[in-house]
């Protein structure tokens, strides 16, 4: 029993629209849950319920083992939340804003001063501290939102698209920050950027049309790909036809895909049946025939392809597999 966040059969209905439909999640200390799904799938609504902003239509939310409805204020005190779009009071400066958050979070003057100093250094806000928030760039606004969320060093951190609108360097910084904080916290981030999952998450949940359609580790997600354990070879165009046919003949090879890659070379990808490992047999084949192969590697799986397959096909069988 060390789930900091435990969500059971959560459901939210707006009029006739079912935004979230029977979502269950559990996040432990040390976990970084990547919450994935197409736009409008119900990610933000779920997060709004976990943070106590919206009341669920039905279902239970436990924060640190206690029902959220038992003592919402105590639960909110344990959570740091970056809402979608990182809203902040535009007329305030980041310095005044963080000071306000520190006060309302009940930090003592000394704690507050120390935490503000730490957070500013961590998130690199030094340059804009005394500029009003409304004049800041999108990236800085997002960082102010992030600073606000981690100011009280919460055990639970919930961030709705923390890297949206950041440039690649800033994304990298935010991801490093999340990884650095991860061991002591339960973190949930929502995103529709799949590389984020590989970069920071220890587990993932995919939601589509309000329903949970996958939950597991990023590795398990990749294993669902047709490309999981596929072998890709880059070969000379002149040999391509012969190699392609030979690959098709191999045991456990389901299909071979061909893609032009540069002028004189072709990229062939042999897809395995049921995720079998075919690397050794492909390697043996190339040696037997003495083909020159410019490169050859095993694919771990294409996340975007799995994502598309899972979120556009929401048959109950997929959701059923969660149990």
């Amino acid at each position: 029993m060390d789930n900091l966040i435990e969500v059971t059969e959560l459901r939210k209905q707006f009029g006739n629209l079912v935004a979230v439909d029977g979502v269950s999640l559990a996040v432990k200390r040390g976990d970084v849950l990547g919450f994935l799904g197409p736009n409008g799938a119900g990610k933000s609504t779920t997060m709004k319920m976990i943070t106590g902003f919206l009341a669920p239509t039905s279902g239970a939310i436990k924060i640190g083992g206690r029902a959220l409805t038992d003592d919402p204020i105590a639960a909110k005190a344990r959570i740091g939340y970056l809402p979608e779009g990182a809203p902040a009071y535009g007329e305030m400066t980041p310095a005044a804003f963080l000071d306000f958050i520190g006060d309302i979070r009940g930090l003592t003057a000394m704690q507050k001063a120390q935490r503000i100093r730490e957070v500013i250094a961590k998130i690199h806000l030094e340059g804009v501290l005394n500029q009003t928030i409304e004049t800041l760039s999108k990236g800085y606004k997002r960082r102010v939102g992030l600073a606000q969320a981690i100011l009280h060093d919460p055990e639970i951190l919930i961030m709705d698209e923390p890297t949206d609108g950041l440039d690649p360097n800033q994304k990298h910084e935010v991801r490093s920050l999340i990884k650095e904080m991860a061991p002591n916290k339960a973190i949930v981030i929502s995103t529709h950027i799949l590389e984020e999952v590989d970069a920071v998450c220890t587990c993932t949940a995919i939601i589509a049309k309000g329903r949970l359609v996958f939950s597991g580790t990023p590795g398990e997600l990749e294993a669902r790909s047709r490309y999981h354990n596929a072998v890709t070879l880059t070969v000379d165009t002149s040999h391509a036809q012969a190699i392609e046919e030979a690959l098709r003949g191999l045991q456990n090879v389901e299909a071979v895909e061909r893609a032009r890659h540069g002028d004189a070379v072709v990229r062939l990808t042999a897809l395995p049946q049921n995720g079998h490992s075919i690397f050794t047999s492909v390697q043996a084949l190339t040696q037997r025939h003495g083909w020159t192969v410019a490169e050859m590697f095993v694919e771990s799986g294409h996340l975007d392809e799995v994502f598309r397959a899972i979120t556009t096909d929401t048959r109950p069988s997929l959701a059923g597999e969660q149990k």
């Binding site: 007329e91 305030m92 309302i104 979070r105």
Partner: protein, 244 residues
């Protein structure tokens, strides 16, 4: 400092972070001057009191207070900061009261800045300062009533213009609810008891008795319960509108 106090402080400083506060105060003082000296005939009356000032204050408030209250919640909803505010460890009541108190303190400041009128009247004659004090207390209560109405309305819309116009109309109705302009509207179809009830809601009636120097408990209870009622409605409005 308590959470309500913290929130109130932030909100109050927020008025001064933009030109809103200064524009409001200048216009308020300018208009009170015009009403008192020109329309209220302060000098011609030859009486040492602030009756010309207090007489027009309900009309001034009816116009200006919705300008303060319109942004209270509609701004939070429009910019999304309501989500931030409502996920901080404070209750809905704390948030509603904190924001209301900040706006009330701001109107109190504007009201206090009319002190030159009081100095003038004391310089020119010897007024009954207890009556003037009662007038100020009544004005503050009335401002609170208008603000509570405006705060509740602003929670219902993301659009500040709609919040302003709607609050203005409702404040207007409350001002005049003892007069034919409002009562005739109900008399045609409503039972007499309802018409009587509505006529007893008139801000003008309740304010005029206080302003004459009589702080009647009934008038104080009227304004306090009106504020409590609209702040409660304000909480319900926020809860109902949060998801949209």
């Amino acid at each position: 400092m308590s959470r309500v106090g913290t929130l109130m402080g932030r909100e109050f400083r927020g008025y001064f972070a933009t030109p809103v506060a200064y524009v409001f105060i200048v216009i308020f003082l300018f208009l009170t001057g015009i009403f008192t000296f020109y329309i209220g005939n302060f000098y011609e009356r030859n009486q040492a009191d602030l009756e010309p000032f207090f007489r027009y204050l309900p009309w001034l408030y009816m116009l200006l207070i919705p300008a303060i209250s319109m942004r209270l919640w509609s701004e939070e909803r429009k910019s999304g900061t309501i989500e931030l505010l409502m996920t901080l460890p404070l209750s809905l009541a704390d948030a509603v009261i904190g924001k209301f108190l900040a706006a009330w303190a701001f109107t109190a400041l504007a009201l206090a800045l009319t002190f030159p009128l009081w100095l003038t009247v004391n310089y020119l004659g010897s007024p009954d300062n207890r009556v003037i004090a009662a007038g100020y207390i009544g004005s503050l209560l009335m401002a609170g009533g208008f603000l509570a109405i405006g705060s509740c309305i602003s929670a219902l819309t993301k659009n500040q213009v709609i919040a302003f116009v709607t609050s203005f109309v409702i404040c207007f109705a409350f001002n005049l609810s003892g007069f034919p302009i409002v009562l005739d509207f109900f008399r045609a179809w409503a039972p007499q008891a309802l018409v009587d009830a509505i006529s007893s809601f008139s801000f003008l009636t309740h304010f005029s008795s206080i302003q004459k120097g009589v702080i009647d408990l009934r008038d104080v209870v009227f304004f306090s319960s009106l504020i409590a009622f609209f702040l409660y409605a304000n909480m319900l409005a926020i809860d109902a509108k949060k998801s949209s």
